[in-house]
């Protein structure tokens, strides 16, 4: 069993109520603003529910003269881009996040846009062991000055919980917890493991998960959890930890043993967080440890015990009480939150959509898991709200977005993936998400008094995603991208493209790049001729008609050099951003640089709804309990308007000033 040490919960309340010393000569600003961010909350859907009288607290929020309007989202309308735009008050040219995925212009390798692992420091090698000196952390790639930094400079205390694209935490708020973009212990964005005693089940890797065998013999099943590479070994080798399940031969129940932890669970039951300890280096003489063990935590779900034993193990998460990964500022803040309301998923986007897409969890099981993750975030909110006295509190809820991705299309009978039997029972799930948001808004209204400003907002809306467009296949079919060998299966721009005859390629969900001489490693397009080429491709894309629907597939194509601000990070982004028509989205493999056989396909994935479309078709929401001093029509305006409530100017901070 995990041991408990008492970190006084009082510490948090002292931190939360202590005023911050005023820095600089400027007069301290005052005010109280709470911002609730519901990722993916759709304006139209919310308004429909309000009209049906199902969201009384949203009505209560605006009834005294408050605002309730759509919020223009970012281009492209993807969460890391949108939240970075909110954070900095600038478009991607000012914060440097253009998509989930960027590419290295030299090698075209794709990478996550928001954070990057740093190189480990120098190593000292002793035999087969190595000791790494420093380095090896993570770097936040989002640029620009976050709005809370400007508030802090004016003496306003700020608490920023789970702002996306803020890992590692910026360190400029009084308290921060990172969210979307925070890796799991493997350094991935969530890798579950599914174990089965079925000997015919193939051991394999899925998107975001692994399938592994369980050795079952006379009621005892043994499996192995795989951790990250052992940092102490010169030769790369994975850390592992065995576990055992003792299966009862009468009832559907088993005892799980992982290290020192034992847990009896029924089939269909999820465990709380269980420690998973990896031994990095055996102690000298079995007693003296030279290196601390790596302790992760996981939730286990015993799916069934008969006829085969099946066990789902969540991604291995960093323990917020241990501080092995910088997920909060100050560092002990995460542990204080865990002390108050229990340990929680520290990885970003914890709802395990990949386990549902991989047909490992059923829709019902996915909803159980998503509920666990959502409730952790909710359980943390009330204590944080209770301790809030003044300044700014931003609190993020990501559950609505990820559950909507998987469940929204259960309301769309014409969706290619819709089957009544599989999805019919979940038609009401999205509605329940909005009811939850309404309840949270109600709890907040009950807790605050009349002088506080409450803002409820989202980064983008939602739409059913029926049709898929592969930009790389389109570029190939239109003569802009040439393969070395047209017959090769699953070609990728990394290995299979003839760059001497390729003028453009796609990376990311909405990005299109010109193969520019002097920028791309094997660039051929003369920079002087780029503008004309961009315009030519733009016109052709806008003329695209989906042969199945007979409607336009693309309603906007943004030319970044012309349509974006001339910020300092414009050069790292794509040359064009595609705004797909509502209902169409960029193809997933194409987003990683693969070239699909067909341009158009039906979306038969369980991930049946999305928002990576024409930004005007998926606006977010902006509600507040009072009119703000500054006008807000789009996400980019919002932070300056929040600062306005504190009567603070000077935002956004011009790039290069931070």
């Amino acid at each position: 069993m995990k041991h408990r040490s008492k970190i006084p919960a009082a510490l948090l309340s002292i931190c939360l109520s202590a005023g911050l010393a005023v820095t600089g000569a400027a007069q301290a600003a005052e005010g109280r603003v709470i911002v609730l961010g519901f990722d993916g909350m759709d304006y139209t859907f919310a308004r429909e529910m309000m009209a049906a009288g199902e969201m009384p607290n949203f009505e209560r929020l605006i009834e005294g003269g408050g605002l309730g309007q759509p919020l223009g989202t970012s281009v492209p309308p993807l969460s890391p881009v949108a939240w970075s735009t909110f954070t900095t008050g600038m478009d991607p040219s000012g914060h440097g996040i253009f998509d989930f995925i960027h590419r290295d212009p030299e090698t075209l390798f794709p990478y996550l846009s928001t954070s990057a692992p740093e190189e480990p420091g120098r190593t000292i090698t002793i035999g087969k062991y190595q000791f790494v000196l420093g380095g090896g952390g993570y770097e936040l790639l989002r640029q620009g000055t976050p709005f809370w930094e400007v508030l802090e400079e004016r003496g306003v205390e700020t608490t920023v919980i789970r702002m996306p694209a803020n890992f590692p935490p910026s360190g400029s708020a009084s308290r921060e917890l990172s969210g979307m973009g925070t890796p799991d212990v493997l350094g991935s964005y969530g890798t579950f493991t599914f174990y089965s005693s079925d000997i015919f089940l193939e051991e394999r890797t899925l998107a975001g998960g692994e399938v592994k065998p369980l050795d079952l013999w006379t009621g005892v099943a043994e499996g192995t959890l795989t951790g990250p590479d052992n940092p102490m070994l010169v030769k790369r080798s994975k850390l592992t930890r065995d576990f055992t399940l003792y299966v009862d031969d009468r009832e559907d129940v088993a005892k799980l043993v992982v290290g020192d932890t034992e847990r009896v669970l029924r089939a269909g039951e999820w465990t709380e967080w269980i420690d998973v300890e990896f031994e990095v280096m055996p102690p000298v003489f079995g007693l003296v440890p030279l290196a601390p063990n790596l302790t992760a935590m996981a939730r286990f779900y015993l799916r069934q015990v008969r006829p085969e034993v099946e066990l789902y193990v969540s991604p291995l998460n960093f323990d917020p009480e241990r501080g092995d990964l910088p997920i909060s500022f100050p560092e002990e803040f995460a542990a204080e939150l865990a002390e108050i309301s229990g340990r929680f998923y520290t990885q970003g986007m914890p709802e395990d959509t990949q386990a549902l897409k991989g047909k490992i969890l059923t829709p019902g099981e996915f909803l159980q898991q998503a509920k666990i993750a959502g409730l952790e975030v909710e359980a943390q909110y009330l204590p944080v709200l209770e301790r809030y006295t003044d300044g700014l509190l931003f609190y993020y809820f990501g559950n609505m977005d990820l559950v909507s991705h998987m469940m929204w299309h259960s309301m769309d009978g014409e969706h290619p993936a819709f089957e009544e039997e599989r999805w019919g029972p979940y038609r009401g799930v999205v509605r329940e998400l909005y009811l939850t948001a309404d309840r949270i808004v109600g709890q907040t209204l009950d807790a605050i008094d009349d002088d506080a400003t409450l803002i409820v907002m989202s980064d983008h809306g939602f739409a059913s995603w029926r049709r898929t467009f592969s930009v790389n296949a389109w570029l190939r079919d239109n003569g802009y991208l040439t393969l070395k060998n047209p017959d090769k299966k699953n070609p990728s721009i990394l290995t299979d493209v003839d760059w001497s005859r390729t003028r453009a390629y796609g990376i990311g969900l909405n990005g299109l790049y010109i193969n520019e001489r002097g920028r791309e490693g094997k660039g051929i397009v003369d920079p002087a001729k780029k503008e004309a080429l961009v315009e030519e491709i733009r016109q052709k894309l806008l003329a695209e008609v989906d042969p199945k629907t007979g409607e336009r597939a693309i309603t906007k194509v943004y030319v970044t050099a012309r349509d974006f601000d001339p910020g300092p990070y414009l050069a790292i982004g794509p040359d064009m951003v595609i705004g797909y028509a509502k209902g169409t989205r960029g193809e997933s493999d194409s987003a990683l640089g693969e070239i699909n056989p067909d341009v158009y396909t039906d979306n038969v994935d369980d991930w049946g709804a999305d928002h990576g479309m024409d930004h005007e078709t998926v606006p977010g929401i902006f509600f507040s309990n009072r009119p703000l001093r500054r006008e807000v029509t789009k996400l980019k305006d919002l932070a300056a308007a929040i600062l306005g409530e504190f009567e603070v100017d000077g935002f956004p901070v011009a790039a290069g000033m931070n």
């Binding site: 009468r250 005892k255 009896v264």
Partner: protein, 284 residues
């Protein structure tokens, strides 16, 4: 040993009763002071101060010799020999009090471990409660006659305040029956383990104050009673090896450092002994 423990348990419960709501470090400090005084008193009672002092002075003389004649190898070797000899003599003089200390302190430390080393369950906690049978139980204990592998006729009687969150898992290889047990409310409980016609009890403590909690009730044996004195042994012929559950471990705060209480006692009692040896007139 069982009789001694039967007397020590209520004694320590009573002794620690006033400290149950205070941080563990308070009791740990008081006991360290007591241990320091008792240790000094044992030394005073059983060692010869003149001989101890003489041995100490001889060791000091040897060290001085090395410093003064550090260029003369022969003298250094002789001095080292003398130091080792007298150090051994010094240790020898204190051997009796040391042996007495172990005899007196060990049962006390074993008792205290179950007050300070663990904490009770918290209301809402869920733990595995298990009964492990002795080898060869099949020939001695009744089976329940159900389907599957033979299993003992074993059931739990759970009082209000605790509840079972799962049916039992029977693991023949481990000879173990395990349940998930939920602590619903604070209290000191006795769970009945009914095996055939006999019922044994096991204590379960759900409390946030410092109380004696017993992780395991074990089969009768001298070492079991020496090391796990928090609960009486099981009857000799019960056929049960142990009945147990896991309590969270407790760390003691010591100047910003969280550690096992026994380390703190060790440090503090040495400090107290060094401070008090003058006033108590003890040579160590």
């Amino acid at each position: 040993m069982s009789a001694i423990n039967a007397a020590l348990r209520p004694f320590f419960d009573l002794l620690l009763y006033p400290l149950r709501e205070a941080p563990a470090i308070v009791g740990v400090t008081l006991f360290s002071l007591l241990f320091g005084i008792v240790a000094l008193w044992l030394v005073k009672l059983t060692s010869n101060p003149a001989k101890v002092d003489a041995a100490k002075r001889k060791v000091a003389a040897g060290l001085l010799e090395i410093r003064l004649f550090n260029d003369n190898l022969r003298i250094i070797f002789r001095a080292v020999g003398s130091i080792l000899r007298h150090q051994a003599a010094y240790t020898g003089h204190l051997l009796v009090p040391l042996a007495l200390m172990i005899l007196v302190f060990l049962p006390m430390l074993a008792q205290l471990e179950f007050h300070w080393g663990r904490q009770g369950l918290a209301a809402g906690d869920s733990v595995v409660f298990k009964v492990v049978l002795e080898e060869g139980w099949e020939s001695r204990l009744p089976t329940d006659g159900g389907e599957g592998t033979p299993r003992p006729d074993l059931a739990l009687e759970v009082p209000d305040g605790l509840s079972l969150a799962s049916p039992p898992v029977w693991s023949p290889a481990e000879r173990e029956m395990a349940w998930q047990m939920q602590a619903d409310a604070e209290g000191a409980y006795e769970v009945g383990v009914r095996l055939g016609d006999t019922t044994h009890v096991k204590t379960v403590g759900v409390t946030d104050s410092i109380r004696r909690v017993s992780p395991e009730r074990l089969a009768a044996s001298f070492t079991n009673q020496l090391l796990y004195p928090a609960e009486p042994s099981l009857p000799r012929d019960s056929g049960i090896e142990k009945i147990g559950l896991t309590y969270p471990t407790r760390d003691v705060w010591f100047f910003g450092w969280h550690t096992h209480w026994i380390i703190v006692v060790l440090i503090l009692s040495i400090v107290f002994a060094l401070i008090l040896r003058g006033p108590m007139g003890v040579t160590i």
